[in-house]
Symmetry: C2
Subunit: 184 residues, 2 copies
């Protein structure tokens, strides 16, 4: 009886071997075994800091941070503003989706950077024209990847990310938002 | 020629007299004088922290913060995750839009709190079902206002906020996102 090769290293190990491939596989198994594990329901609270015009405290789980406006928009710039947070949500979601899908597809990936710009016309927000939407009219997302694979593999990865990035989906395809108002 | 009342105080001054009404008026004047002042183009950069699975550094102007995933989603919970940031963008945008429109409409407003929940099915993100969208399927937004005005005035305010909140618009109505990929 021989034990040749029993200690061989995994020849497919790459810089993307960060546990995400195993996570994706475990998630697939868990969801197959019990569909109820697929549902998640993130919760966030935002509240005005008393005595300020536009300073907002955000609480999400154990995390707390501040959103504000620059002086030109009535605030004191104690944090990035809401539309910058929307771009941050999109950019960080792209980065993480690149990481997870690179692991799923076995594509080595060394660096991911995303540069985002949004086009906004403030006439919408201030009600100066009912023809102008209040939100971004368009967003540009420039992705820079570094890694050892042929370019085609990164194009394959990019296609997968475009189809599976949650925040990208919520900006490019409408979702219902139900609001309730309570006055105390 | 008389100057009677030239020193009268503004009888509509309220707890919302925080400079936002004057800002809205100055913005309207500036945009009327030069339409080019209406366009703004926020920019944000997000990049993977080397050696981590899902830790992302966000830079927006002078502000820098971290986005990450909890261990159950492959990260180390060094920051709130992207979909929590999407809810934070929406909630903080609601708070600030309430403040600005309360000032525009002359409605006194003492407190604004927004509690948000999103419904997500992770089969979309992990590609386990092509029938499931990757983003939030729906979002609920519970707004709590405190102030001295009759309830009807806060309903009027809420209607104005629903029509003019930028991030709400970008979630409920699709916007084009143009992506470019560069491989280095």
């Amino acid at each position: 009886m021989t034990t040749t090769n029993s200690t061989a290293t995994n020849s497919t190990a790459s810089s993307t071997d960060n546990g995400l491939a195993a996570l994706a596989e475990a998630t697939a198994e868990a969801v197959t075994a019990d569909l109820a594990t697929a549902g998640v329901r993130p919760r966030v609270r935002t509240s005005l800091v008393g005595g300020t015009a536009t300073q907002v405290t955000v609480r999400a789980g154990a995390h707390e941070w501040t959103v504000d406006e620059p002086p030109a928009l009535g605030g004191q710039d104690t944090g990035a503003n809401p539309v910058e947070h929307l771009l941050a949500a999109l950019g960080s979601c792209q980065v993480i989706t690149y990481q997870v899908w690179a692991a799923k597809l076995g594509i080595a990936l060394d660096e991911v950077e995303v540069d985002l710009r949004g086009e906004l016309d403030i006439r919408g927000f201030f009600g100066l024209s009912e023809q102008v939407r209040p939100g971004f009219q368009s967003v540009s997302v420039d992705v820079l990847l570094r890694g050892p694979e042929p370019a085609e593999r990164y194009e394959e990865l990019s296609d997968a990310v475009e189809r599976h990035c949650p925040v990208l989906d919520n900006i490019t395809t409408e979702a219902p938002v139900e609001s309730t108002l309570r006055v105390a």
